[in-house]
C-alpha cells in the first residue's frame, strides 16, 4: 500500500489536471448538448490554440495568461465561422455528415500544423512555471493551481451566461426544442454557431492554461480529446456541471492509474472506463438522462 504522503498529492494533482480536462470537455459537451453532434475537430482546435499561445509568447513575448485575453475572442470568432460557414452548410442537416465533416476538419487542421511547424515538441520557459505552492501535505505547481481557479471561474461565468442572458436562454431553448425555438423567432443557425463558438473559446482558455507547464506538438490534441470524450460521456452528454465533475474524477483516476500502473498504462485506465461507460451507461454516470 502506498502511504498517504504519496496518495494525497497524487489525488490533488489529479484534481488540478482534471480541471483542465473538464474545461476541454465543457466545450465539447456544450456543443453536443445543443447541436447534438460530436465535434471530432475539438482536439485539433485545442492543438491550434496551444500553438497560438506558444507563438504569442515566442514571437510577441505575450504571457500565456495575457494571451488568453486575446486568443479567447479570436477562437470564439473562429468557432462561429467554422460552424456557420463550413460545418453547418456542408452537413445538409445529417448527423452522419457532421461526423465526417468535423473529422475532415480535424485532419486538415492537425496536418496543416504538422506541415507548417514540423513534428517537433516545443515548450516555453516561464520563470513562474516551477514556482510551487506548499499546502503542508503536498507541493503543487503554481500554474496548475492558477489553472484550477480559472477553470472554476470560467465554468461559473458560462453558467451565468447560459442562465441569465437572452442568448443563453436562446441556447437552452434550442437545446431543448429546436423547432419550437425556431417558431418563436430564434435564429437557430446563429445559435448553433454561437454555441460552437463558446465551445471553441473554452479551448483557447484551456490552451493558455496548459502551455506554461505542458508542451505542444501537432498531435497533442488527440491525447486530450479522447479524455474529453470520456468525460463528456461520463458526465452525461450535454451536461455542463457533469463535465466539470467528471473531469475532476477522470483527472484523479488517471493520476492514480499512473501511480500504480505506470505512465502509459494510466491512459488505458481512462479508455477502459470510457468503453465500459459507453457500453453500459451511455447516458452517463451522474448526468441528466440523454
Amino acid at each position: 500500500m502506498l502511504s498517504l504522503t504519496i496518495l494525497v498529492p497524487a489525488i490533488l494533482n489529479g484534481l488540478l489536471t482534471g480541471a483542465v480536462y473538464g474545461l476541454v470537455a465543457l466545450g465539447l459537451t456544450l456543443i453536443y448538448g445543443v447541436l447534438h453532434i460530436i465535434n471530432f475537430a475539438h482536439g485539433a482546435l485545442l492543438t491550434a490554440a496551444m500553438f497560438a499561445a506558444f507563438f504569442a509568447h515566442r514571437l510577441l513575448g505575450l504571457d500565456p495568461y495575457l494571451a488568453a485575453v486575446v486568443l479567447t475572442p479570436m477562437f470564439f470568432v473562429l468557432g462561429y465561422c467554422l460552424q456557420r460557414f463550413v460545418i453547418g452548410p456542408a452537413a445538409h442537416g445529417e448527423d452522419r455528415n457532421v461526423l465526417l465533416v468535423t473529422l475532415g476538419l480535424a485532419v486538415v487542421i492537425e496536418n496543416m500544423l504538422l506541415y507548417a511547424f514540423g513534428a517537433d515538441t516545443r515548450t516555453i520557459n516561464l520563470d513562474y512555471a516551477f514556482r510551487i505552492v506548499d499546502l503542508g501535505i503536498a507541493f503543487l505547481a503554481l500554474p496548475r493551481v492558477v489553472g484550477f481557479g480559472v477553470v472554476l471561474a470560467v465554468t461559473l461565468l458560462l453558467w451565468l451566461v447560459l442562465s441569465l442572458t437572452d442568448t443563453g436562454k436562446a441556447i437552452r431553448a434550442v437545446a431543448k426544442e429546436k423547432l419550437g425555438a425556431q417558431l418563436s423567432g430564434i435564429d437557430v443557425a446563429h445559435i448553433y454557431a454561437v454555441t460552437f463558438a463558446l465551445g471553441t473559446a473554452c479551448l483557447a482558455i484551456a490552451a493558455c492554461l496548459l502551455i506554461p507547464t505542458y508542451y505542444v506538438n501537432p498531435h497533442i490534441g488527440n491525447a486530450f480529446v479522447l479524455v474529453a470524450f470520456t468525460i463528456v460521456v461520463l458526465g452525461g452528454m450535454g451536461s455542463v456541471t457533469g463535465a466539470l465533475v467528471a473531469g475532476l474524477f477522470v483527472g484523479v483516476v488517471e493520476s492514480l492509474c499512473g501511480l500504480y500502473l505506470g505512465e502509459s498504462l494510466g491512459q488505458i485506465g481512462i479508455f477502459v472506463m470510457f468503453i465500459l461507460v459507453l457500453l453500459f451507461r451511455p447516458s452517463g454516470l451522474f448526468g441528466e438522462r440523454a
Binding site: 456542408a90 473529422l103 479508455f271
Partner: protein, 329 residues
C-alpha cells in the same frame, strides 16, 4: 440505382491486371499496390457503413489485428506466412465480432458507435505499444525470406496480383451482399433501423454479421500490408491514419456502391501524389488534401464520384428521351 454487374467486375479487374504487362515501372506498381490496399480496406468499411449505415471511426482495430497476427505468428511461432495471413483475417473478424457484439448489444448508434470504435482502436494501439509480444514501441520486423511459400517476392508484380485478387474477391463479396436477402436487410437497417425491426429484421444480428465481414476484409488488408512492407509498429497498424483512409476511399468514390472504394482509393491516392509532387515530400500535406477532399465531397457530392456519374447519366438519358415525351404531351 442499378448495381454493378458481374461483367463490370470482370472488366475492371481485367483492365487492372493488364497494367504490369504494359509497364514495369516500380513507381507505378507501388502506387497501384498501395491504392488497391486502400481500396480493400475501404471496401471493408463500405460493407458496414455504406450498406449498414454504421459509421466506424476505428477500422484500424481490424487492420492492425490482421497485420499483427500475420507478423507475430510468423516471427514468434514459426507459422507459415500464408497460414498466418489466413489466421490474421480470422483474428480481425473475431475482433470485429467481439466489438460488434458489445456495441450493438448496448444499442450504440450514430455518434456513440463512432466513438466506441475509435476508443477500441486506441486501446489496442496503446496495448500494442507496450506489450512485449507485439515488439512494444520498436515494432515487428518480418525476416527477409524471398520465397513464394513465405509470401515474399523479388519484385512488385506478384504482390500486385495478390492484392488485385483480394480486391476482386472483395468486389464479388459486396456484389453478393448487394443481391442477397441479407443485403436488403442491411440496407433496411441503414435507412430506418426501427422500421426494419418492426417488420421482423433481426437488426442486431444483421449488423453483427456485417461488422464481422467488414472486419475480415479490412484485416486482409492489414495482413497484406505486413507482408508487403515487412514492418509494422503500433502507430502503423492501429494508427488513426488507416481508420481515416478506410472511410475516405468509399466516401469519395461513392458510399454503398460496389466500385466506390476502388474508385475513391485511386482518386484519393492520385491527389495525394499530386500534392507531394507540387510541394516536395513535406509531411502532413497529403493528409491536408485528404481532409479537404472529405469535407468537399460531403458538402458537394454526398454520393461521391459514383453519385456524380449517375446523375450525369440520368441527365443525358433525360435529354435524349425528352423530345418524344414532349410529343406525347
Amino acid at each position: 440505382m442499378k448495381g454493378a454487374s458481374l461483367a463490370h467486375i470482370v472488366l475492371v479487374i481485367a483492365a487492372l491486371a493488364a497494367v504490369p504487362l504494359l509497364t514495369a515501372s516500380n513507381v507505378v506498381l507501388n502506387f497501384l499496390v498501395v491504392a488497391l490496399l486502400v481500396a480493400l480496406v475501404g471496401q471493408g468499411w463500405n460493407v458496414l457503413a455504406g450498406y449498414g449505415g454504421q459509421y466506424s471511426f476505428g477500422h484500424a482495430a481490424f487492420f492492425g489485428t490482421g497485420a499483427y497476427v500475420t507478423a507475430i505468428l510468423q516471427m514468434r511461432y514459426g507459422v507459415n506466412a500464408w497460414i498466418a495471413f489466413t489466421l490474421g483475417i480470422a483474428g480481425g473478424a473475431l475482433v470485429g465480432a467481439a466489438i460488434g457484439a458489445l456495441a450493438f448489444r448496448s444499442g450504440l448508434r450514430g455518434s456513440y458507435f463512432a466513438l466506441v470504435t475509435l476508443a477500441f482502436a486506441e486501446v489496442l494501439r496503446i496495448l500494442a505499444s507496450v506489450a512485449p509480444v507485439t515488439g512494444a514501441g520498436v515494432g515487428i520486423l518480418i525476416a527477409l525470406d524471398l520465397r513464394p511459400q513465405a509470401f515474399q517476392f523479388q519484385g512488385r508484380v506478384p504482390f500486385y496480383w495478390i492484392v488485385l485478387t483480394l480486391v476482386a474477391v472483395s468486389l464479388l463479396i459486396v456484389r453478393l451482399i448487394e443481391q442477397s436477402r441479407f443485403g436488403a436487410w442491411l440496407v433496411a437497417v441503414r435507412e430506418n433501423e426501427d422500421a426494419a425491426r418492426a417488420v421482423g429484421v433481426d437488426t442486431a444480428r444483421v449488423k453483427l454479421a456485417a461488422m464481422t465481414i467488414s472486419a475480415a476484409i479490412t484485416a486482409a488488408g492489414g495482413g497484406f500490408y505486413a507482408q508487403y512492407f515487412l514492418f509494422i509498429d503500433s502507430g502503423i497498424a492501429y494508427g488513426p491514419w488507416i481508420s481515416i483512409a478506410a472511410l475516405l476511399a468509399p466516401i469519395v468514390g461513392g458510399i454503398g456502391t460496389v466500385f466506390g472504394p476502388l474508385l475513391g482509393a485511386l482518386v484519393v491516392k492520385t491527389l495525394g501524389e499530386i500534392a507531394k509532387l507540387v510541394t516536395g515530400d513535406a509531411p502532413g500535406l497529403d493528409l491536408v488534401v485528404y481532409g479537404g477532399v472529405l469535407i468537399l465531397v460531403v458538402a458537394f457530392a454526398p454520393q461521391g464520384i459514383a453519385g456524380l456519374l449517375t446523375s450525369l447519366r440520368l441527365r443525358f438519358a433525360r435529354l435524349r428521351s425528352s423530345p418524344p415525351e414532349r410529343a406525347h404531351g
